[in-house]
Amino acid sequence: MASNALRGYFERLGNQVTSGVWQLGFAARFLAYMLLHSGTALRRFSLTIREIYFSGVLSLVIILVSGLFVGMVLGLQGYHTLERYGSSEALGVLVALSLVRELGPVVAGLLFASRAGSAITAEIGLMKATEQISAMEMMAVDPIARVVAPRFWGGVISMPLLAALFSAMGIFGGYLVGVKLIGVDDGAFWSQMQAAVDVREDIVNGVIKSFVFGIAVSWIAVFEGYDAAPTAEGVSRATTRTVVTSSLAILALDFVLTALMFTGGTAT
């Protein structure tokens, strides 16, 4: 009896792994197809602009407010820790590097995944459930080119912009708390920061990260939406999957990219 149950368990595990790999392959083919058929999204750019509005502009509030608060907390916590080593003047360095290298791309990515990613998945999933996708197919319009690709590119373009805004807002928040509230020296805050933050190594790498995260989140969001079961339950499960998978992907990619970028490959 126990061996049967064990066997059943392994069979199910094997099934999950094979179906997981199959899903990945399917998702990869989906991405390739979408990239090949992105001509419409780029030629009729107003479609993509509309999606940049819905993913990017409508995420502005949460990104800016979160960025401000994260920066303020960094300023507060950072000060109290640095104070112990008499290095409170390095607060600017701490806030800037944390944000630009890590928190900006990662937290903005997570917020983007939950706000915009889930919205994209729900929208595409619902279009599928209400047969709008089939209707488009029957009208000889490729739904992947017309509906999916603009949303993908809208997300890819919005993400780096939002991450930069998050970092900038965060630094401002750190400045507000550190300099204005606590009293760290204004000049030291900015000058040490400028000396320590390198454009090529820190800022550009941060932008590259946010770009990679944007691709990952947008890909997952459109795929899950397109692949959702055409029922209410199917759409809701797909939305959850988008947020969970995107978040995990962001964190995993963050580790890989950080290892490659900031330790010169010596960590691996």
């Binding site: 502005l60 919005s158 912009l161 900038a168 920061m193 400028q194 933050v197 800022i203």
Partner: protein, 157 residues
């Protein structure tokens, strides 16, 4: 939601995003200082470069005058060959000394240039003749202990 409102807001987002990037690059990073300057290259040999890294600063009198562009190992002399890119606005005499210094007690290492008195200036591709290697902490400690032991022996005599 009509088209023009959407276009306006997307334009605002893109402008704000690029503005944030510019802010980060200029006010937060060090783009303003060193991007478009003309540079010339100067080499120096060191017995030990310690923790010196590529893109470390080259300073003279505390002012950043260049960056370390390349670090190589010479298999004939078994020394480190450091190539520096110096800002063309600053010319140094040929007997300038290059020292590897540490900023603060445990900070990052950089190259400090002390100008000599030669009338002839360094040209692109020249090699500095006088260098001082990095201070390695272990050597410093063992030297200190050795001195202390010698003192102890002297006073015991």
């Amino acid at each position: 939601m009509n088209r023009t409102t959407i276009d306006l807001w997307v334009g605002i987002l893109v402008a704000a995003g690029l503005g944030a990037l510019l802010f980060l690059a200029l006010k937060v990073g060090n783009l303003a200082s060193f991007s478009a300057a003309q540079t010339y290259e100067v080499k120096a040999n060191f017995a030990n470069i310690g923790g010196l890294k590529v893109r470390a600063a080259v300073k003279s009198a505390g002012v950043v005058v260049g960056r370390v562009s390349e670090i190589r190992f010479d298999t004939e002399t078994y020394e480190a060959v450091v190539t520096m890119s110096l800002n063309a606005a600053y010319r140094f005499p040929r007997d300038t000394v290059a020292k590897i210094l540490t900023s603060g007690l445990l900070g990052e290492q950089y190259i400090g240039l002390e100008a000599g008195g030669d009338t002839k200036m360094l040209k692109n591709g020249d090699r500095l003749k006088l260098t001082q290697s990095a201070v390695v902490l272990e050597n410093l400690i063992s030297q200190f202990l050795f001195n202390k032991a010698a003192e102890g022996k002297d006073s015991a005599k």
